[in-house]
């Protein structure tokens, strides 16, 4: 009974560490440290993606057959922890974490050959078209229609909360192909070229002033039937697969541990209530990374997925919000500045009030409120835990 990493794991860790030391430039670290949104912007993400792809570690969580390096779950955990400690950019997950696994699991050979290389090279930038204005947590009520027209579908509807859609050239979307069927049964999974006529992207500004989210309007957009993943009506099954990947896919704890440490480096030692909150957050984050390591060890040992992994997203969201609220409090008056310019590491940014790390604090605080909403609200997560893990 021990979580201590065995020698071969330590060697692997050192290898990752050495790689990060060498290839993660100061500019990339700085960009990552001053990113206010969930994911790095393309100017940071693209070069880092290329570096990882060159090393063969971009799709480290994909199976060997799909081009992954064949790492164990524990190796993935170690890799994620080292990346977090080193302050690597958070690559957008829509391609690598979401549609990638869908493509290699449900796509046909032509689709795989067509899309996977471009996904990895960064030529394709993906956005996710799931949510709609009327259907947030209740995905099955989606209304975007795809009507068959020869070898194409004509897709009409509206998607919302589409992260980084303004950078994307590809959209994967759930659409209703059969309005007669039961809500879940009539849904299909389509790949849409954002350059198609009828696609309009409208920005949604966050309260922080960040532009990460968008609405995507689809007006009789012509999508080849060949761009459908799986069978018609299989969309719900694929979506569930994807959402489980989203929830349980990667480790949150290491990033939270590292972010809290970086915050405390920037603020210096905290006193009083702030010190107490920092300790509590640190214990929560360390517990979470260990919970994630336990799950990785179990999966490597061939155990079936544990319901414990359901807690990850919920707990991570609350720690994230706790850290970002602590930051505003700890930076004092400097935590209240919120320049309109972006990115925070860009040349157009005004001089910070107080330490540079304080400048994105308010933006981060506001943005991180989204963590308990998107990707399944905390309320949905708790119900899921009660049912699947507790057995109520």
């Amino acid at each position: 009974m021990s979580l201590a990493l065995p020698p071969e794991a330590l060697r692997f860790r050192d290898e990752v560490r050495a790689f990060l030391d060498e290839h993660l430039s100061a500019d990339l670290r700085r960009g990552a440290a001053l990113t206010s949104g969930v994911f790095a912007e393309p100017d940071i993400a693209r070069p880092w993606q290329a570096i990882l792809e060159t090393r063969g570690w971009l799709v480290y969580h994909w199976p060997v057959a799909a081009g992954g390096p064949g790492w164990s779950r524990v190796q993935r955990w170690i890799f994620e922890k080292e990346c977090a400690e080193a302050g690597a950019p958070a690559l957008p997950g829509m391609g690598l974490k979401l549609v990638g696994p869908v493509l290699y699991s449900f796509g046909d050979d032509a689709q795989k050959a067509d899309y996977l290389p471009r996904l990895r090279s960064g030529e394709d930038f993906w956005a996710q078209g799931f949510s709609e204005p009327g259907s947030g947590s209740d995905l099955a009520s989606l209304r975007t229609r795809a009507v068959r027209d020869g070898d194409d579908y004509l897709v009409t509807g509206q998607k919302i909360w589409t992260t980084q859609a303004h950078h994307a050239n590809r959209l994967f979307a759930l659409v209703r192909t059969n309005p007669e069927a039961k809500p879940q049964a009539g849904i299909s999974f389509l790949l849409i070229d954002m350059a198609s006529p009828g696609v309009t992207v409208r920005p949604i500004l966050s309260a922080s002033g960040d532009h990460e989210l968008n609405e995507v309007f689809l007006d009789a957009v012509r999508v080849p039937v060949a761009n459908r993943i799986g069978e018609e009506g299989q969309g719900w099954t694929i979506a569930k697969f994807l959402l489980e990947n989203e929830r349980g896919g990667s480790s949150f704890g290491p990033g939270l541990v590292a972010d809290l440490r970086r915050l405390l480096d920037a603020t210096g030692p905290l006193k009083g209530e702030l010190a107490t909150r920092a300790i509590r957050l640190s214990l929560d984050a360390r517990a979470l990374e260990t919970t994630e390591l336990r799950t990785a060890i179990e999966l490597d040992a061939g155990a079936p997925p544990t319901p414990r992994s359901l807690i990850t997203k919920l707990v991570a969201s609350e720690i994230r919000q706790g850290i970002d609220e602590l930051a505003v409090d700890a930076f004092g008056p400097a935590g209240l500045q919120l320049p309109a310019e972006r990115p925070f590491y860009g040349p157009g940014m005004p001089a910070p009030i107080g330490p540079q790390a304080a400048q994105p604090a308010a933006a981060r605080y506001l943005n991180s409120r989204a963590w308990t909403i998107f990707g399944g609200t905390s309320e949905i997560q708790l119900t899921l835990i009660a049912k699947a893990a507790v057995g109520l």
Binding site: S141, A207, S208, L213, D329, G332, Q337, L366, R369
Partner: protein, 349 residues
């Protein structure tokens, strides 16, 4: 003993509310300070003279009147230099300024023609030193969070370790104003003082008791503004959970949503109680009662804003809805004067 506003207070509230309803429609609310023309119109209505003693040409309003106006601002998510300028700086000049300062600034503030901004001491607010020089002083250092400092005609600078309150015009040589945006969209400034020569007339002679009271009045205004905005966010949230449907029913029918909104109701009622308690406190107890109200409300406001955002779902984190913008405003207001943490520390001391 009377919970309702007096007839005069009700007239004041209705006047301000009506003005703000006309001039700050919902889609504009919570995006930044009122335009100067509107501010002047408020001055014409007498709103900006409210806190100034009658002897100094003001309306001599008390905590009740100040809270009523500030709450109306919060209710409408309207912004402007109400607390620090029309309450704090106006009163300090009226109380302690010489004839020249008073005649130059009080009328200008109360008519909405000029802003005097406040640079008080506190953790993270910057260091300042003041040295005697002949009849006057030399000022060096900075104030980091001077709300509305970008457009101010003058500053009142306070020091923690000295009884000094100095009124310094923005155009004084050595004063450098670095404007920046706060989270609520208002402009603040970092103001640097580089060997600024301050004449002896610039010193405001305010007794410590009076100074404490005027600062408490300012904090009361901020507390009342938070409560007004809490009420607006609360009502928006109740409406939303009644109307928003998921899984075929209104989300307000879910037990966890009901309990969460019930908690917000409690926060709001308890906040209001402490505000009323502060308004009703006698002079000796006033400053502490305000600190207590602020300590509670600053926490309650942020908690309410967070839950209002959560219950609004994705829309709650955008700039499109008032709930997101109100959240930003409450983030700023709840952190002024060191926020709830400094207030609790003060109460524990």
């Amino acid at each position: 003993m009377m919970l309702e506003p007096t007839e005069e207070q009700a007239l004041l509230r209705d006047m301000v509310s009506r003005f703000l309803a006309d001039h700050v429609p919902t889609d504009v609310a919570g995006r930044g300070s009122l335009p100067l023309a509107d501010w002047r119109a408020l001055g014409d209505l007498g709103v900006l003279a409210l806190a100034v003693p009658e002897a100094a040409g003001g309306l001599g309003g008390g905590p009740g009147e100040i809270a009523i106006v500030a709450e109306a601002f919060g209710r409408a998510a309207a912004m402007g230099p109400l607390a620090e300028c029309a309450v704090l700086c106006a009163c300090l000049i009226a109380d302690g300024g010489d004839q020249a300062s008073a005649s130059k600034w009080i009328g200008a503030i109360t008519s909405g023609q000029a802003i005097v901004a406040y640079g008080g001491p506190g953790e993270g607010l910057g260091d300042l030193t003041v040295q005697r020089a002949g009849e006057g002083w030399i000022l060096n250092g900075e104030r980091r969070l001077v709300r509305h400092g970008a457009g101010a005609g003058a500053f009142i600078v306070a020091l923690d370790d000295a009884p000094h309150l100095l009124l310094i015009e923005a155009a004084t040589p050595g004063v450098a104003i670095l404007p920046y945006a706060l989270a609520d969209g208002e402009q603040a400034a970092l103001v640097r003082f580089d060997a600024v020569e301050v004449a002896c007339e610039a010193r405001l002679q305010v007794t410590p008791t009076r100074r404490r009271r005027v600062i408490a009045m300012t904090q009361l205004a901020i507390t009342a503004e938070m409560i007004g905005l809490m009420q607006t966010l609360y009502e928006a949230t109740v409406d939303h959970v009644r109307q928003r449907r998921q899984f075929g029913v209104a989300i307000g029918s879910f037990q966890v949503v009901q309990h969460r909104v019930a908690r917000l109701f409690i926060l709001l009622e308890q906040s209001r109680s402490l505000l009323l308690r502060a308004i009703s406190a006698d002079d000796d107890a006033f400053a502490t009662a305000v600190t207590e109200a602020f300590a509670y409300v600053a926490d309650a406001a942020l908690r309410l804003a967070q839950d209002a955002t959560q219950l609004h779902g994705g829309m709650g984190v955008t700039e499109d809805l008032l709930v997101g913008r109100g959240h930003r405003r409450l983030l700023v207001l709840s952190h002024l004067f060191g926020g709830a943490i400094a207030a609790r520390a003060k109460l524990a001391a």
